[in-house]
């Protein structure tokens, strides 16, 4: 079984994010790391291939400056190889443009299964996976938790507002997986060493046959016209519990007429 996992490399979420003052785009020029949301897709792919008795897990990523430290993390977890799309014309690409690029890269691999995270931790549009399925004219199951493969059919639970739906679909299919669906493994020392030698194919737009005016800022056909500071919420009374803080809460609830 051949599985492709879409992975995004993002600025470290532990550091404060910043917009470029001239372009109003999120700054991505520093070191990028594997988006935690995507580590679930990588783990799920590894588990499904193991359960199927063998196969291959390939990664597909789009990032500036041939950045691949996040890809190396996923390779160290156990993925076999990767395609990295990097091109200066991709700066400012929106969700649809990203889907066109990733779909073109995925198309070269003819996978049985495509996995992605539900949404990235920086842009969080939650639309790219479904758009990739649209570009490739494939069925999809978004918001999937619990995935299993039975012959040529995938079975999944799809999260809904009220609970979940049981879904079945014939391969090939794209699934976006929710955080927490599996426990991502930590790369072992051996895995980290092995990852350094795993093949990463670097491609640009020309290699993928994509016209540069269909992606990037031009292809996005939208413009950030201003950025404003949001109103700060003031903090109120902060007290340290010395054994009777519950009485202050009860009093406060009384003032609010909640009790």
């Amino acid at each position: 079984m051949k599985v492709v996992v879409c992975v995004k490399q993002i600025p470290d979420p532990a550091l404060p994010g910043e917009l470029d003052p001239t372009t109003n785009l999120l700054k991505r020029d520093g070191k990028l790391i594997l988006d935690e949301s995507d580590s679930y897709g990588v783990e799920m792919a590894l588990q499904l291939v193991e359960a199927a008795g063998g196969g291959e897990v390939s990664l597909v990523s789009m990032a500036p400056n041939n950045e691949m430290s996040g890809l190396r993390t996923a390779l160290a977890m156990g993925a076999d190889d990767a395609i990295l799309v990097s091109d200066e014309n991709l700066a400012g690409t929106d969700a649809l443009g990203t889907a066109k690029v990733l779909a073109a890269a995925i198309g070269r691999l003819s996978p049985d299964l495509i996995l992605a995270g539900v949404e990235s931790s920086d842009g969080y549009t939650g639309t790219v996976p479904e758009m990739i399925a649209g570009v490739l004219d494939l069925p999809s199951v978004t918001f999937a938790k619990q995935i299993s493969i039975d012959g040529d059919t995938v079975k999944a639970q799809r999260q809904t507002e009220a609970g979940y739906d049981d879904i079945e679909c014939k391969l090939p299919v794209l699934l976006s997986v929710t955080a927490g669906v599996v426990e991502p493994r930590y790369p072992s020392f051996k895995g980290i060493m092995a990852a350094k030698k795993k093949p990463v194919e670097a491609l640009d737009l020309q290699a993928l046959g994509i016209e540069s005016n269909t992606v990037g800022v031009v292809g996005a056909r939208q413009e950030t016209i201003r950025v404003t500071e949001a109103e700060e919420r003031e903090s109120g009374e902060i007290i340290e519990d010395d054994g009777d803080a519950h009485q202050r809460i009860a009093e406060f609830l009384g003032e609010l007429k909640v009790v």
């Binding site: 969080y124 549009t125 758009m131 009220a162 979940y164 949001a230 109120g236 902060i238 803080a245």
Partner: protein
């Protein structure tokens, strides 16, 4: 200057449209002269309520008949959007709303702007407002496309408003076939049990997070919620850990809540969580870490151990 027509992707069931759908209609009415809606059945169950909120016409798409909504709806909607040329199509930020907008975006080759909380028309084009960096800044984005703009809105960004409009005219959409893209089938539907006030509409919400230490401690949240006639919620951390179902998740990926009182127990206040609850009128927080970001938005913050403060509070409330 307002736009001509905005179409809204309506969601709901036999009992009527969702609140989010009515919020979208309000948003659309604020920027366009005419509002129409796409509905996923024969349209009859929503004609009255959507009309009352200002929808002139319903485009009925039929049931998805055991298929997933996104591919099915987008195939039908694409043809109509191409022939009727609305200025925009608005969606709610729900699983089906996101799927449908994404599929439609590909079919029409039009951009989608997500996570919006506001909309205006400036110089004749749609401008959308999106909070970023945990709601500390707002980005305003203008469409620069030709053709229908697609936009997804977060819940509770607008107040639904009944305007006493006439019953909406219903027109049935037929013909389009999603083809291979629509072959995923729904074989079962599980509704997770819920009792008491609903999380997204309750006046009081009590939520628990990682600071509870172990899954069993969530009983404290349920008990306190019961005493305050509140809905119980959770941070993403304990939903991911499997302690409580996703339907209880408050935050960027979960539900947006704006109750009169939000009571955060053992929640540190990650950006992901703050986005979903900082619109609450009053916030009480208990956390043992005095540096926890939740205290920066709390009206009453208790630096202490939830395992001591919550049982004591529960006893006090029971005694009164």
């Amino acid at each position: 200057m307002s736009l001509n027509t905005i179409m809204v992707f309506a969601e709901g069931d036999e009992s009527g449209p969702t609140t989010l759908t009515l919020e979208l209609i309000r948003a659309a009415r604020g920027v366009a002269a005419n509002v129409e809606a796409f509905v996923l059945d024969d349209g009859s169950s929503m004609a009255e309520s959507l009309g009352d909120h200002g929808v002139s016409k319903i485009h009925a798409m039929g049931g998805a008949e055991g298929k997933l909504v996104g591919a099915h709806a987008a195939a039908l909607m694409a043809d109509l959007v191409v022939s009727n040329l609305p200025d925009a199509v608005f969606f709610g930020q729900t699983p089906d709303g996101r799927d449908t907008a994404a599929r439609l975006s590909v079919r029409l080759d039009q951009p989608v702007i997500t996570n919006n909380v506001g909309v205006t028309v400036e110089d004749g084009v749609l401008v959308l407002e999106e909070p970023v960096f945990g709601g500390t800044q707002n980005i305003f984005t203008a469409f620069r496309n030709d053709g229908a703009s697609l936009a997804l809105f977060r819940p509770k960004s607008f107040e639904a408003e009944s305007i006493g409009g006439a019953i909406a005219e219903v027109s049935v959409l037929e013909g389009a076939d999603p083809g291979n893209s629509g072959t995923a089938i729904v074989t079962g539907r599980v509704i997770e049990e819920r009792s008491g006030p609903q999380l997204d509409s309750a006046a009081v919400v009590v939520s628990g997070g990682r600071g509870l230490g172990q899954p069993e401690a969530y009983e404290l949240v349920d008990e306190l919620a019961g005493l305050l006639n509140a809905a119980s919620g959770a941070s993403r951390a304990i939903v991911d850990a499997g302690w409580v179902p996703y339907s209880k998740q408050v935050g960027q990926t979960g539900k947006v809540v704006k109750p009169s009182l939000y009571f955060a127990c053992g929640i540190s206040g990650a950006t992901q969580h703050l986005v979903g609850m900082k619109g609450s009128k009053v916030i009480i927080a208990i956390n043992k870490d005095p540096e926890a970001p939740i205290f920066s938005v709390a009206d009453l913050g208790i630096v202490g151990d939830v395992h001591k403060v919550m049982p004591a509070l529960i006893e006090t409330l029971k005694a009164t």
